[in-house]
Subunit: 414 residues, 2 copies
Amino acid sequence: MLDWEHIFATRSSRMKASEIRELLKLLEQPDIISFAGGIPDPALFPAEEFQKAYSDIFAGPQVNAALQYSVSEGYKPLRDWIVQDVAKIGIDCQPENVFITSGSQQALDYLGKLFLSPKDTALVTWPTYLGALSAFNAYEPTYDQLSLNGNRTPEAYREAAAKSGGAVKFAYLSADFSNPTGETIGLEGREKLLDLADEMDIAILEDAAYQHLRFDGQPIPPIMALDIERKGGIENTRTIYSGSFSKTLAPGLRVGFVIASMPVIRKLVLMKQAADLHSSTINQIAIEQVAARGFDAQVAKIKAAYSERRDFMLKALEKYMPKGTSWTKPEGGMFVWVTLPEGMDGAELLAKSIATEKVAFVPGRAFYADGSNANTLRMSYSCANGEMIEEGIKRLGRLIASASVEEKEALPII
Amino acid sequence: MLDWEHIFATRSSRMKASEIRELLKLLEQPDIISFAGGIPDPALFPAEEFQKAYSDIFAGPQVNAALQYSVSEGYKPLRDWIVQDVAKIGIDCQPENVFITSGSQQALDYLGKLFLSPKDTALVTWPTYLGALSAFNAYEPTYDQLSLNGNRTPEAYREAAAKSGGAVKFAYLSADFSNPTGETIGLEGREKLLDLADEMDIAILEDAAYQHLRFDGQPIPPIMALDIERKGGIENTRTIYSGSFSKTLAPGLRVGFVIASMPVIRKLVLMKQAADLHSSTINQIAIEQVAARGFDAQVAKIKAAYSERRDFMLKALEKYMPKGTSWTKPEGGMFVWVTLPEGMDGAELLAKSIATEKVAFVPGRAFYADGSNANTLRMSYSCANGEMIEEGIKRLGRLIASASVEEKEALPII
């Protein structure tokens, strides 16, 4: 066998297997209660609406266009639909500001590619979406912890970046019901981030993959909307907003989007021409048809189901988790973030949990760019029913309680 | 407006608008006779077969899986189908050696990403597929001219690469009916390339996008097949073969593939997890169904149509081109490559041609990594009928003849 390592680019050493993807394989075992996936519940897919959309495409005049190459920026009626949808949350833009991607994961890859030279710094929250770290890793950046309480100065970030051999290029975050914590950044935090980005002259990457899934509480304007308000129009903004149809309609079609000022969109279009030409034409048309016919009703259906599951999970955590364990109370999305007693390790707990209790979740360490905070777990309720949640959290609580005791017993007596 | 340039990564300066993509817009003008596109003829798409495939997916037990996330390596039955299809041309491999991409353009992007650190050298033919140069450019390589007649030594390549500040990582080429020339590399050239790659310990990227479209002449084994034969099995090969369903079934679904040894496939899978998770699930299933039901008949239909159009074009060129103009005689694919009299410029000719004769083609310079050989044109016959070809080539011949005269007249008299 050849020794490929010395032929591969240096960046390839940072391409490693994702814990989450490996864990997805566990879902295939029917006796496991899984809170690991973080995938949408397929029972909620608007399958009939998609069936009608594909059927209409083949019966109509668009069939040849649907099967043919198309423009890199994306299907114009879909971009028009997105423009009117985001106008409802204060994002005033034109179709020229919208760029269609193959899921919002592709937006993260492209934005890493657009901004990061090796050794540049990306500011990310601690923890952050694992897939963002994976996407950015290919461009060999350094990570620094994005603080939204104003306790780090622009100079501090700049000095750290210079020490790593590059410059700070952007701050990446998910402001609403983030993966993995389920938490939302308040208005003050968003304004502080805009202040920081303006002072530092960096971009803000706002990952809005879960933005539509608010169950309760007051909606907060997207950072993009606040930026547009500040600057008097999208062409003066530094925020780049990415969205997805994966959590609202269906992920299997791979359709997401980016909204930004035109200099950014123009670069992304060129990048896509070179990288995969365009996203699937037929799928973009199908997404547009399903969205135009009943997006809001579909989102309402999903929110009703997920909010009930979130309630089940929060109640079960309250009931079964031992003292010393805490968790987030998300107002939307798919995730609850659990913090275990200090000193416990989520990965070790998972190994035990799979072996003895048959419950799966994602250990939290992978979501920290520095691999810290091993005593955390990501729990998804999106694909679980009330009974599974009750039983799974009960087993997990039992395991955590016994693991805490074991660890205490193992302490050296001095 | 912000000054984005200093925030963008250095690689972004190499992302430029593609002449071909800009030219595609000309196709929308109905009075232009276009040989520019290089896209498949939509009248030949197996639309009914795709209609049945999508309809079956929604009527069957696969519907939820088709709309859901799926594995990064690709849909297993499609990989199985590819294994049996390529076995017919001497590529003996397992499904684990097959990786599904979003069109073969994505394969080029990923392979650039996998192999090229900035300043590394990619060997490419002169001319080469423009989209390969665009894909590789993002990784900031240097290009050197791949010679298949053995007149450059490994040392010469290595010295040139070292001078540019990197190492030679791969040789990229399309061996059958290449875009843009339509030419095929003979068996001797393929063997020489394998010798060179073995001596230099580099990868070979074999772009087989047009491989199925042979109209006449003897098939030549793919470089991948020769490599497997030499090394006794795919795991010892250094060739990476990329294929596409865009030219045989339909490009709008964005489904292509890579075949390689497992260390390469494993890296590509990790890369895809990070870059866009996976190619569209529903489209992969649809492609597999259409391919399994009648791939060979579909390919036969396309070949019959395109070979007739190639014949029309070669006859028209013979009839109308002025002396001093030459062209390739492709045995398959979609393109004829025209060399104009020395000193003429394809881009200037296009400007005149659009203005006065209403005939479009692609100027050849963009296909040369060094921007040389301006006196060349790429002509595609895939979407033209006999009448259009006769009329278009007639007008073009007239224009070239008059342009040659003009240029002669413009020579200073000394």
